[in-house]
């Protein structure tokens, strides 16, 4: 507020109308997010401890910690959570490793072609998510393209089992889904790199590898961390891909939440788990928030 008054050269009436105008343009979008995002998240917090009840048949009608205790202490729910954490870690790191060299190429080597190349990389990300999973099913399935090809040419008699309905399939598909998205923030941070720094490092006798390791890579870290977070968080609650390509090993924390609401009909229990995810995400964002670059949009 102070800064607004400092820069405002108009009279107080002018200032008041400016304030109303700001409220006018911000009111609707902020209201939408508050009503349909923040309020509902607060609601599941209340609901998970019995502060609200009567929504599903098994609701406990008074204050209770049972849903939280149930999921924190009984197997296998925490185990599922850690399984999801492992999945998110593997997927984010794999897509980072795949995307980093390409982002480097585009930002520092490719020259004028870089934007066209970037579009070519990003297009698959903007096509349908389910269809990309479908493509992998067609590719990796027991009767899929790879297995049926290998069988036809006589290299194998039995389908390769670890290709599909396996952890491998989950990791492969999710990395595939996220790679283009990961390339973006790394590209942006490398592109804003001052090339004179690299020249200086070179002049001082550093090898290219040394320059990369002690100049380029540290300066691209904000992009790397932003990419990591933007993949890690959504993957933590992922249940579609595990269900479609993971087989028996594909039951994740997200699947536990989803089934509490569909087959299990234990909504309070599901809410407690969903709320737990919110807490986990909040901790991550608090920790890495300054790299997320969300603020710079407003400044």
């Amino acid at each position: 507020m102070a800064s607004a008054e400092l820069t405002d050269t108009g009279g107080s009436r002018e200032r008041g109308s400016r304030r109303r105008a700001t409220l006018g343009v911000l009111g609707a979008p902020v209201l939408w997010i508050v009503l349909f995002f923040l309020v509902p998240v607060v609601m599941i917090a209340f609901y998970s401890v019995g502060g609200i009840s009567g929504l599903s048949p098994n609701d406990i009608p008074q204050f209770t910690v049972t849903p939280w205790k149930d999921f924190l202490t009984t197997d296998p729910y925490m185990e599922l959570f850690w399984r999801s954490v492992r999945m998110s870690t593997v997927v984010s790191i794999t897509s980072l490793i795949l995307a980093y060299p390409v982002a480097y190429l585009l930002a520092l080597v490719a020259g004028k072609r870089k934007y066209t190349m970037l579009i070519v990389i990003i297009v698959p990300f903007l096509t349908s998510y389910l269809l990309r999973i479908l493509a992998f099913r067609v590719l990796l399935g027991d009767q899929g393209v790879i297995n049926s090809f290998l069988e036809q040419v006589g290299l194998i008699d039995q389908p390769i089992t670890w290709l599909f309905n396996s952890r491998f399939a989950i990791y492969a598909v999710l990395s595939y889904v996220w790679v283009p998205f990961v390339a973006l923030p790394i590209f942006v941070s490398l592109e804003s790199l001052d090339l004179q720094l690299l020249e200086a490092s070179n002049d001082l006798g550093a090898s290219r590898f040394r320059t990369f390791w002690s100049v380029t890579f540290p300066l691209s870290l904000p992009g790397v961390i932003a990419a990591f977070i933007f993949v890690f968080i959504p993957t933590l609650g992922e249940y579609i891909t595990p269900l479609l390509v993971g087989g028996p090993s594909g039951f994740m924390f997200g699947n536990a939440i989803q089934s509490a609401f569909t087959t299990g009909l234990d909504w309070q229990f599901g809410s407690a788990m969903a709320m737990f995810l919110v807490v986990a995400v909040a901790v991550l964002v608090a920790f890495f928030g300054r790299y997320l670059n969300v603020r710079t949009v407003a400044e």
Binding site: T7, Y115, L139, F230, Q258, A274, V297, A298
Partner: protein, 293 residues
Amino acid sequence: MNVAISARGRRALWFSFGFLLVFLYAPLVILVIFSFNDREFVSFPWQGFTLRWYQQFLENPFLLDSLKTSAAIATMTSVVTTALAIPASIALSRRRFFAKGLVSGVLLAPLVIPLVVLGTALLILFNIVKTLIGIDFELGMMSIMVAHVVIALPFAILTIVPRLERIPVALEEASRDLGAGWWTAFRTITFPLLAPAVVSAALISFTISFDEIVLAEFVGGQTTTFPRYLWSQMRLPRQLPQVIGVAVIVLVVSAVVVMLSELLRRRTDTALEASTTVFDDDIGIPTNEVVSA
């Protein structure tokens, strides 16, 4: 000498680019090729070219209905999101106000929430409104649209704000000085320059909604969107070839739309840059070149 890369490193990087392209496009290309294979299972051996999967899909009323439903929801989502994103972006990039960091954080927060959480939360919200407050409505297209706007809005804002920041405020101020009201100034000066970003934002919102499955599952009630239909069919191997036919069509259409909108945005961005460089030496006085851009 190039300090960023050695000749050998350059080759390695181009190789990694080639590898990534194959990784990204091979599954999609294979999907397209096998959608023409005359076989009940989507696999080798190749048994001849056929269009029957495409034909079957055109005759499948459930599938066509689901496509229409999704198109309707995506259109509504796109209109509402863009209508909310334009004022929000103007406030974030053009105005100073109290707790701006917090407000932008709130607007962009849906970027960092697992969809299963948002789905759960909205399902509970809608049920509270229905059973505890007693306003009766059916979960369906409207509730899906409401949910989709929440996740599309941050992307729309992030598309519009950078463009807005590159349009000199001086243009709008000049028109205000010449007696235009803020609405006239916005409508005749800022908006035309902003239009390409608005189109991109609308397309991105449309794509996000058209493709979204998790929220639609949670708050969609009995409404079958295209992703929900796909989801239900993907578990039945017999339906697979036919589903793949649609998949290919949707894939190609969305890829073309996305590429066109990106190219359009890049081109107009370059035009904007070219026209606004006039301001670098002569700040504040719009010239003919600028206005005609």
